[in-house]
C-alpha cells in the first residue's frame, strides 16, 4: 500500500460559554482542554496563555477584525481591551477587583519593540470589566487556536462499492486506473478501453448505445480518455 506523511489541521474557538457560570467566584471558565498526542493527555489552554500567544500587541498596519458576515469591523485595540478584561474576570471571577496596569498581559509596542503604556487603555479595560460583570454578553472577544500541521505516516486505501447500482459495464473489459492528484488532494479514477453504461445511455428506439446509433444527437459527454472513437453505426 502507498504510505505517505500526511498533514491535517484543526482549530478550536475559545469563547465565553453560552450560559454564564452560576458561581460568581468561578475561574477558568474561558479555558479549554485539548488533546496532546505527544504526552497522551488533555492539556488546559488558559485564556491568558492563548491571549499572549496571539502576540496581538505586535500587529501593525490596518488591523481591524471582521465581526460577522455583514462585514462590520472592530479595531484591534478594542479586541485587546475586551480580551484583557475577560482575562481579568477569568482569573479572578466575577467578584474580581478593579483592573490595574499590573494586570495587563498584552502590551502594544512601537516599531522598536518598546512597550507603549497607555493609562487610557487601563481605564477603558477597567470600565469593560465593570460592564462585563453587569452584562455577560459584553464578553465578545474570542481566540482561534489553530493546530495546522498534525502529521502522521498514513497508508492509503480505496474503498468502493460494487454492483449494478454503480453503473453496469455493457461491453468489453473495463480497466479502472486510480491515481492521486496531489494538486487538488483527490483520488482520480479513469476508465479506459470500454465505455460504461453510466456515460452512454442506451437508445430507446434501437437498443444500441447512443454514440453508435442515429436516433439521437451525437453530442455525448466523455469523462474519460478512452481509446479513439469507433465509427458511428446506424441501426435502421
Amino acid at each position: 500500500m502507498l504510505q505517505r506523511f500526511t498533514q491535517v489541521g484543526e482549530y478550536y474557538t475559545m469563547a465565553r460559554p453560552p450560559i454564564p457560570p452560576k458561581d460568581k467566584d468561578a475561574t477558568g471558565f474561558l479555558d479549554i482542554m485539548i488533546y496532546d498526542e505527544e504526552t497522551d493527555k488533555h492539556c488546559r489552554i488558559t485564556w491568558e496563555q492563548a491571549l499572549k500567544a496571539t502576540v496581538a500587541g505586535a500587529l501593525t498596519g490596518t488591523t481591524d477584525l471582521v465581526n460577522g458576515p455583514s462585514g462590520a469591523k472592530v479595531p484591534l485595540n478594542t479586541w485587546i481591551q475586551t480580551a484583557e478584561a475577560m482575562n481579568h474576570i477569568n482569573k479572578n471571577g466575577f467578584k474580581a477587583g478593579a483592573f490595574e496596569e499590573k494586570d495587563r498581559v498584552i502590551f502594544q509596542t512601537n516599531a522598536s519593540g518598546v512597550k507603549k503604556t497607555s493609562t487610557t487603555d487601563v481605564t477603558a479595560i477597567a470600565q469593560l470589566v465593570t460592564d462585563m460583570k453587569a452584562d455577560y454578553s459584553k464578553m465578545t472577544a474570542t481566540i482561534c487556536i489553530a493546530r495546522p500541521f498534525i502529521e502522521h505516516a498514513m497508508l492509503s486505501a480505496v474503498l468502493t462499492v460494487s454492483g449494478q447500482d454503480t453503473g453496469a459495464t455493457l461491453f468489453g473489459p473495463s480497466d479502472m486506473q486510480v491515481s492521486a492528484n496531489t494538486s487538488v488532494k483527490t483520488i482520480e479514477g479513469c476508465v479506459s478501453e470500454s465505455a460504461s453504461a453510466a456515460l452512454f445511455p442506451v437508445c430507446f428506439q434501437c437498443g444500441y448505445l447512443t454514440p453508435f446509433c442515429a436516433h439521437v444527437p451525437t453530442a455525448t459527454t466523455r469523462a474519460t480518455s478512452s481509446r479513439s472513437s469507433p465509427s458511428r453505426r446506424t441501426c435502421t
Partner: protein
C-alpha cells in the same frame, strides 16, 4: 501517541519561547523550523499551536474550514478574499508579515504538476482488446 505519529499534535505554541515569554520572532523561527522540518534526526520537538484574535460575531458564522496559508478556500476563490481567516483579511495580512504565513506550502508536488505527471503512480494502459472481440459496436 498514534502509530505513525510524526509531529504537530502537541499543545505548545509557536510563539512561546523557552523562557515562557511569547514573541513574534520566536513564532516566525519556530514556524520556519517546522516547515523545513529541521533537526528531524534528533529528538527536537516542534510546537503545534497558533493563536489568532477573533470577534464573537465572526466565530458564530465561521465555516468548518479556515485557511492560514496563501491558498484560498474554494468558496473564497471568486472574491479572492480571506473572509474565513480568523479576524478577516486585515488580520491575515498582518500575520502573514508577522509570522511568515505565506511560507506555508500546500503539500503539493510542484515538479509533478509542472510536468503534468498526474498519472505517474499508475500502471500504463495496455491499449489492447481481448481476442474474443465480438461486440457489434466495435465493428
Amino acid at each position: 501517541m498514534a502509530n505513525g505519529y510524526r509531529a504537530g499534535g502537541n499543545c505548545r505554541f509557536f510563539t512561546k519561547k523557552s523562557d515562557g515569554t511569547f514573541t513574534v520572532d520566536a513564532g516566525k523561527e519556530a514556524l520556519q523550523s517546522r516547515l523545513n522540518f529541521e533537526d528531524n534526526d534528533t529528538d527536537e520537538v516542534h510546537p503545534s499551536l497558533l493563536a489568532f484574535p477573533m470577534m464573537e460575531g465572526q466565530a458564530e458564522t465561521l465555516h468548518n474550514e479556515i485557511s492560514i496559508s496563501s491558498r484560498l478556500l474554494p468558496w473564497d476563490v471568486h472574491s479572492k478574499t480571506y473572509n474565513y481567516f480568523p479576524g478577516g483579511f486585515d488580520m491575515y495580512q498582518a500575520y502573514k508579515t508577522l509570522l511568515g504565513l505565506d511560507h506555508i506550502h500546500f503539500g503539493e508536488d510542484l515538479r509533478a504538476s509542472e510536468n503534468m505527471e498526474y498519472m505517474s503512480q499508475v500502471r500504463a494502459s495496455t491499449h489492447t482488446l481481448p481476442e474474443s472481440q465480438d461486440n457489434p459496436t466495435f465493428v
